[in-house]
């Protein structure tokens, strides 16, 4: 007896079969991708030694900034005609990138020769670690090393709001920079530091600063104007600052 001819699959059966094939293929692809993601990932490019116990950047901060005049949040000669105002949050990874890529060039080419001074306006909008980092950085200014402290803190920046701003980290940075740790702690809790932080917050609010880093340039006593570097390359800031110096 000849075999019965098979009925062709119905539209529904065909669709379901194709769906099963698609789902099976998808499952295999997902397994491969997730496996690759977990097994082959490299290191994080976020942050430094906040959680690992090691502190870096102390020597670099000192080399870059020691010997430069600084008065609390202002770095450079008070007679410098042009001021570069930096609105920053010490937890901001993009601020950290500016600190690593753009800041040293600005310091060497413009601050050290006395052409430009920098003014930091610290913000603490990213979270509790930002507030603690800012207060201790401002307190370091009472001992004349705000900018070294800020630089070293950036070098050891951890993941946002992970609790990376520990007393242990702050103490290591302070002692590495030759600061009086007991005085630093006391000043960080003090009224002067708090008033500075509040004043900076007011300035950021008045200018409606939406994010960090944000840069303003002030020529003499004129109104500061916002500048938007398209990258953190030294040449980008050179162009901005040369324009201001020639105005």
């Amino acid at each position: 007896m000849p075999p019965k001819p098979r009925k062709p699959p119905s539209r529904k059966e065909s669709g379901n079969r194709n769906l099963l094939i698609a789902a099976g293929a998808a499952a295999a692809v997902v397994l491969v991708l997730v496996g690759a993601s977990l097994l082959l990932r490299g290191g994080d490019s976020n942050g430094g030694g906040g959680g690992s116990g090691e502190v870096t950047g102390i020597q670099e901060a000192s080399t870059l900034l020691d010997g430069l005049p600084q008065e609390r949040a202002v770095l450079g000669s008070p007679k410098a005609k042009v001021t570069l105002i930096q609105f920053e949050d010490l937890q901001c990874p993009i601020c950290r990138r500016y600190q690593a890529e753009g800041f040293p060039g600005v310091v060497e080419s413009y601050v050290r020769p006395g052409k430009v001074k920098l003014r930091m306006v610290g913000m603490a909008f990213l979270g509790p670690d930002s507030e603690k980092a800012l207060l201790y950085t401002l307190a370091a200014g009472e001992q004349g090393k705000l900018w070294q402290f800020q630089d070293a803190l950036y070098a050891n920046q951890g993941d946002e709001n992970s609790g990376w701003v520990t007393d242990a980290l702050l103490e290591k940075i302070a002692k590495g920079l030759g600061l009086d740790w007991a005085k630093l702690k006391k000043d960080a809790d003090g009224a002067v530091t708090l008033q500075q932080a509040n004043s900076m917050a007011d300035e950021a609010n008045q200018r409606q600063i939406q994010g960090t880093p944000t840069f303003y340039v002030q020529v003499g006593d004129q109104q500061p104007y916002q500048v938007n570097p398209s990258s953190f390359e030294p040449s980008e800031f050179a162009s901005i600052l040369d324009d201001a110096l020639s105005s």
Binding site: P8, I21, V29, L40, P93, I94, R97
Partner: protein, 137 residues
Amino acid sequence: MSDRALRAGVALVALAGVAVAGYLTYVHYQPEALICTAGGGCETVQESSYAELLGIPVALFGLLAYVAVLALVVWDSELARTLAAAIALSAVGFAVYLITLQAFVIDAWCVWCLVNDLVIVPLLAVLTVWRVRRTTA
């Protein structure tokens, strides 16, 4: 819904995916395009080690997947529909993984990644699966 409408829907959603994945890929290579804003997250997700696979940004994989889906929509055979659904379902699975990472490992959110993972990818999966189930034998 007619198959023509479904096909157009798949194409539109895939185009939206190209736009979002394209932006995330661009941002990956041009990190200065980002600024930290209130609420945090910043570039934590984009800079994490999970943002790349074998040195290639995850966003770029997404972009290639959406482009492939667009090509399959143009081709439009039974096999093309099955492949498009396979790609979309893979994307759903991987999106679940990425959301889990953001929630429990990286502990930060990437807004545009979430738009992709919670809106575009599921929508694409629904539409492509619907088309496959309507496949004519």
